[in-house]
Symmetry: D2
Subunit: 380 residues, 4 copies
């Protein structure tokens, strides 16, 4: 019933569902903590939204949402941000009765791997049964729109955030540098920078798709250009807020930083990253830490991976329970589905990481230093 | 740059300004923490928005905003709340170029009593100069829309919140019971329940209006039906969160509870409210406490008053400073203005008090007990 | 059950009661957000605690708490702050059985003006009946200790906070400049800078004391040296967070800024403060605004007053209700009491205002700019 | 500088470091949101603290902290909680000059895998160089003390939280039921319930210890008895707050729920847990979800694993950088160290999970329903 806000100083608050009723129904985000003077446009937001939009490749759901955004507040007459919160909305367009009817046909059933059961226990019959409500993948529209603002701010600070498919069904991308990834990761439908591995992954996904099934994978997110010392000790470590943000994405079942779960088989001297001097800057020879020491950025790349479960919507018969009749039953195959969401979820991961970083920057700096506002009248 | 959220568990986040640019520009609020199963409609919200809408009487600004709202998220197919956040928007309609031009003509000047100067020092030239941005009285649209949801919830709990003009320019309304107020306070343009005093107040305001001037006053807000024990000790006392909410309204220069500043001239035994038994319920013979003991509700009416300054926009010449030229100058008379906002601000006061109370109820109860959701599957 | 934390970025969390059991029982505060490198000592804290300590003059309770503090965490080997939270504790010493027995004798009764009733309804028989628990005036020890840290920080920024008695039982101090106040306000037991008025006030209080009664008053808090532009628009206006902090002090029944409730009888041109240029700095000819425009500091003195109710503990018979027997009864006179708390509560008011200001400074600046930490390794 | 608070409604705020100066120096926690009427004692807290205490087995640091706690606030005369925050302190005892001197000897050096470098960049020379300050493993004393209160509350609700070593240096414990784990996991120094695997793990750790090295591992935490429907959708999913809490523990490099990273190689029908009816209760045939659907508890066991890096303190030469001289150097072997912390860190993991769950319970229920306070006067 709560929990629709993320961030402390730079803060996104989202709302909306795919089949909300009412005039102008849509998904929206209010972004608070935006520095004044930014020339952000709706095209900047749209560019990010387009990354997670479905219906663009054979790998994702044929759902036809265009997800076009409008910025309805926060810009002044000159088109720049004023320091007021940005309001961004994406109106629903693909709300045909035929889809509502399909949702209605199994609204009393638990869809395996979906959130119906927990929503039943929490909200009872009032839970939104149409399009999964706030448990829909489409809830992430607000995150990505908010993340687009965060990425815009980071870009001005020289900080880059990239997400891409690292592994699908056991097929793993090779290790690549940040620049290699950047050059290649948008070259295929899966957003996997290792073009050879990507080909294999896509073939495997299409096979699985033909079985009426879906495929899991791993998405990696990397951040370059972050200064050292970002994040707060103890509970608000930067990696902890990033873990919070990433774990709040529906399909994520694991998060790891740097060497991640491999540390379980490491000795101390294999795991410790050794510092050295690169000119007058401290660097580390390895990055098992994934860019964090004591939970604060150490100036190396942030490297974080998320385990993405196979989409739970399948085109096969599945055991279910009818919550109203309280009897076991079978859920019939559902036709519109994503064979994998790895090729889209990276945009959500980028968004959550970017929001957490901007929030930490603002917490450390205050708003005025971030984006270096030119203000002759400023007293503090 | 921040501060656009109020509440901890029941939480409103607002955005928007009167002259925001972009398609579908407007003022919006996301209300988080709404219990599922409520049959709230946009008419319920509109009813409250209409209370604060300008241009309805000779006592307020001739500005022609219709302030019609839409609920764009949070309602399920049956038209009931689902537990998801409500998104409410009021589109801007009165954004004619003539008014933008007027604002542009004095955009470099400090308007006495207004927030230009502090916005200059904080945001520099990026501060929204058109229609005062987030410092506009119109910012309260989001508060009132959020407050309408809170009042809807309180009504279901049998709790009533009423606000009305208590005093204008030294003319004070007589003491009246809750029922007397309720019967009479909507009978005149000033929303003052003492019809005799109201007549005098209105006459005085119209006189002042003719001088190109504006009038200050006091608004009282009362709450009936609150159980005892609401609020949290120490920093989150219910009266402290109410004071926070009310002091955050632009025109408010003072807040007092019960006897308020009169306690400064009271002895202990005059000030202490004495408990007695009314059947099996503890009541108090007087209400100098204004409904609070130790910052928690004591079961008596909550009585709080706010001092409302005269609207700073005047139709007389006023000394000013041009911030770009850094020279002293004169601000010419401005035509569209509210002779007083007492007749409208009570709606904002009601909203803030209602939000603070629902937030405290939810903090004490959890969402499920408030509004008594019928849910056979509920486990917690 | 909650609400023991105040502040967002600079944050005090308090605990403790006068008669807590357990080894080392006391009142404590954790102050989070302290910049590194401060040479704050326990003497700096003690100086503030001494201001609110009882038993020092005939005007306050004869209670013999020495309220000596220790800093038990947050200082490094060199005795400077490290950026870690400060932990401060004041051990209980005046916990004699005779006082516990006295509290036990009326523990089932509602003491008029006290918080027993609301604590009964909230916590039932588990409410702390001994020394009023968290509803005791002694709860403010943690606030003042936290405020001492805030004042230490403000002093380094050239910002001064002073509180003093403005009015008692209708006797009002004359208007005085900041410097005049500073020179005189510690010269009498009431901390009233108008020495002539103070004499009358004290005489009146002593009369009232002899009747077994207590006296109300008004305390004023002023802040000098604040830059313009501090605070956040909308809900987190600086005056709103100050109002929150002050209204959370047990005895406070009203808060007003600048002209305060007098605005109710003002016309716009009397109320508006007119800007002018003082060299290259914008100043205002009057200060009806009390230092705030749009809720942000305008560079003039902050002036805020609080209405302080007469202490509810009296040496006269008072009607009461026995909550266990649910019958009306009489509460006998209580001997240890404060004839007024005006002479002590100013220290709590100073603390709350100082905390709110430091919190806003940190929100705007980030920690590193406040107190200008010298750090050659700093990257952000 | 911040970040010393975890939780929204049930909230722990910690402070303290191992070598803080000042009288009564120690580590402390304030636990806010504690229901009244609990008969929690310092022995209940101590029992949990003893789990993470060093110097008890050959597997951990020979450091001789007894870590004895006192409850210094929050208990009433009857020894029960009153609804006020609990204050708990552990005084420092093992603060001998010899250890301070050792820390001083390498205070300018970056210790590989430790937080010196990021603290340097954040706090400069003011960073606490003695015993690692807030980046010390000993910071977790406050977490475990706070977690002990949470576990006490959960026990009253019939909810059990257990943590134990799952894997060390590639040696993995077999799959075991909750009851099997409970019966066996305290039978060895490593708190590994698979006694055969434990033997191998311990042998391997002792070998590694002899090399001057340390060993990584995986710790699993499981929760039984949780009702379905706990947690909030979107950003405050229960698994997200748990991930936040666990990722904030210094040594944790990964978090996974249920099948975790294995989902990357799963097809939808292998990953989806199928619902069935067990009497009138919905259960799931598998638990790949680890107890979460849509981020809310689904009534099955919560299963979460954390990757624990090998302790960075080693008894071998390591490359380092002197931050003051800005030159590369060698860090000499350090003698007091933990060969592994898997056998102790489970207690911190249990604490963080327990706190997150109690916080979610309180958010859903309000304080009064949790622990079912008997209160005849209660009105809300």
């Amino acid at each position: 019933m709560l929990g629709n806000t993320f961030g402390r100083v730079f803060r996104v608050t989202t709302c909306g569902e795919s089949y909300g009723i009412g005039k102008g129904s849509g998904l929206s985000v209010i972004v608070d903590g935006v520095p004044p003077g930014l020339n952000i446009t709706k095209e900047d937001i749209q560019k990010e939204l387009d990354k997670r939009r479905p219906g663009q490749t054979p790998l994702d759901s044929p759902r036809k949402e265009t997800d076009q955004c409008d910025i309805f507040s926060g810009l002044g007459q000159e088109g720049l941000t004023t320091g007021a919160p940005l309001g961004i909305i994406v109106y629903n367009v693909d709300t045909q009765q035929i889809h509502i009817d399909q949702y209605a046909s199994y609204k009393d059933l638990i869809r395996p791997g979906h959130a119906e059961y927990t929503f039943f226990t929490k909200y009872g019959k009032y839970a939104d049964w149409c399009g999964a409500g706030r448990a829909s993948g489409r809830e992430t529209v607000g995150r990505v729109a908010g993340g687009a603002v965060a990425k815009f701010i980071l870009e001005k600070e020289g900080i880059e955030v990239i997400g891409y498919t690292k592994e699908v069904m056991g097929i793993r991308s090779k290790e690549m540098t940040f620049d290699e990834v950047k050059e290649n990761y948008r070259k295929n439908d899966l957003n996997c920078p290792d073009l050879v591995a990507a080909k294999k992954m896509i073939d495997r996904i299409l096979e699985i798709k033909d079985e009426g099934e879906t495929a899991g994978g791993i998405v990696e997110i990397r951040v370059r250009g972050l200064p050292a010392g970002l994040g707060e000790p103890v509970f608000d470590k930067l990696n902890a807020t990033i873990a919070h943000g990433l774990a709040s994405i529906g399909a994520v079942k694991g998060i790891e930083f740097g060497a991640g779960f491999k540390v379980a088989n490491m000795k101390g001297s294999d795991c410790n990253d050794h510092p050295y001097l690169d000119g007058d800057r401290v660097r580390f020879r390895t990055n098992n830490a994934g860019g964090f020491l004591g939970g604060m950025s150490n100036g190396e790349e942030i490297v974080v991976r998320i385990a993405v479960k196979p989409t739970p919507t399948l085109s096969v018969d599945q055991p279910s329970v009818d919550m109203y009749k309280m009897e076991e039953t079978i859920l019939s195959p559902i036709t519109r589905r994503d064979p994998t969401i790895c090729g889209r979820i990276y945009a959500v991961g980028e968004a959550m990481v970017a929001i957490a970083i901007v929030d930490s920057l603002m917490m450390a700096h205050g708003y005025a230093s971030v984006c270096k506002i030119d203000n002759p009248w400023r007293q503090i």
